[in-house]
Symmetry: C2
Subunit: 141 residues, 2 copies
DNA sequence: TTCAACTAATTAGCTATGCTAACTATATTG
DNA sequence: CAATATAGTTAGCATAGCTAATTAGTTGAA
């Protein structure tokens, strides 16, 4: 009944529904999902090259090149020459980009907090532990 | 330290990364994400109208109309007249659609199982409990 | 050391997916 | 019955995904 397959299936479904609810918060920012996701890598992970960004986001460099152009149009990020390699770029978030991302992150967290605040202490501890386990898995993958 | 905001933030991040890893499995099916997601509603939730499908997926009817056309082109779903309302449609998955979705679901679960099977019994129980809590939240939202 | 092979990024052209606005057809309601 | 509301489609636009081809810079091996 609670086989490892069932847990996997439940996690899959829970993640899908969680993300679906949180997308509503993102849509208020008037920046498309690909741009927001790339911007979050830049804001929370620091500057990187276009290929690195494409790797994190699991898209081709061609796609990422256009996403970064969009971010530049919105003044949310900028391209700079890489100090190490004249072929590569150093892509970084602007101040406006950082502010937007922090605002969006806050809206997501607020949305989730509204859902969580009716839980009892035991359930909150349970989620807290689960987050730790999931983070541990991520580091291994 | 483990405030409700921290838990919310951790859940957000964990869900994002989980979904990102699982997307790789979906891409092998050669059906776009919007079609797959709509198809999963039809397969696991049963037939419904176009507006209902649009509501679940949080897109406009205009967008869903085209997604359903795409599913029909792929022979994964079909439109039928609604028995109750001559304006409305009954949209249902085809046999091919059900088979593809079950295959995709299995691939996602297999991918997750590969990540989970190194966990000890305690961590698995923890995730199992967390899934229950998250399902409870979903029903309230 | 020079030249071939590789790597980083961009561009063009295609498809898919999101939107709004305008439309057709059917239901509902005053 | 007429006005209004609802279900779905279409057209036109922007964003985002892909491959293939191109430009520019790096690396490595003869």
């Amino acid at each position: 009944m609670d086989s490892i397959e069932d847990i996997a299936s439940g996690l899959n479904s829970a993640a899908i529904h969680l993300i679906r609810r949180l997308r509503k918060e993102d849509s208020k920012l008037n920046v498309g999902p690909a741009r927001l996701s790339a911007l979050s890598v830049l804001v929370f992970g620091g500057p990187c090259t276009l290929s690195e960004l494409a790797g994190y986001e699991q898209v081709t460099s061609a796609t990422m090149s256009r996403v970064v152009s969009g971010l530049e149009d919105n003044r949310l990020a900028r391209r700079k020459p890489s100090p190490d390699d004249a072929r590569a770029l150093r892509i970084e978030a602007t101040k406006k980009g950082r502010q937007l991302m922090l605002k969006g992150q806050q809206a997501r967290v607020d949305g989730l907090v509204r859902e969580l605040k009716h839980l009892n202490e035991k359930d909150l501890k349970c989620l807290h532990q689960a987050v730790k386990v999931l983070k541990r898995i991520e580091r291994k993958v």
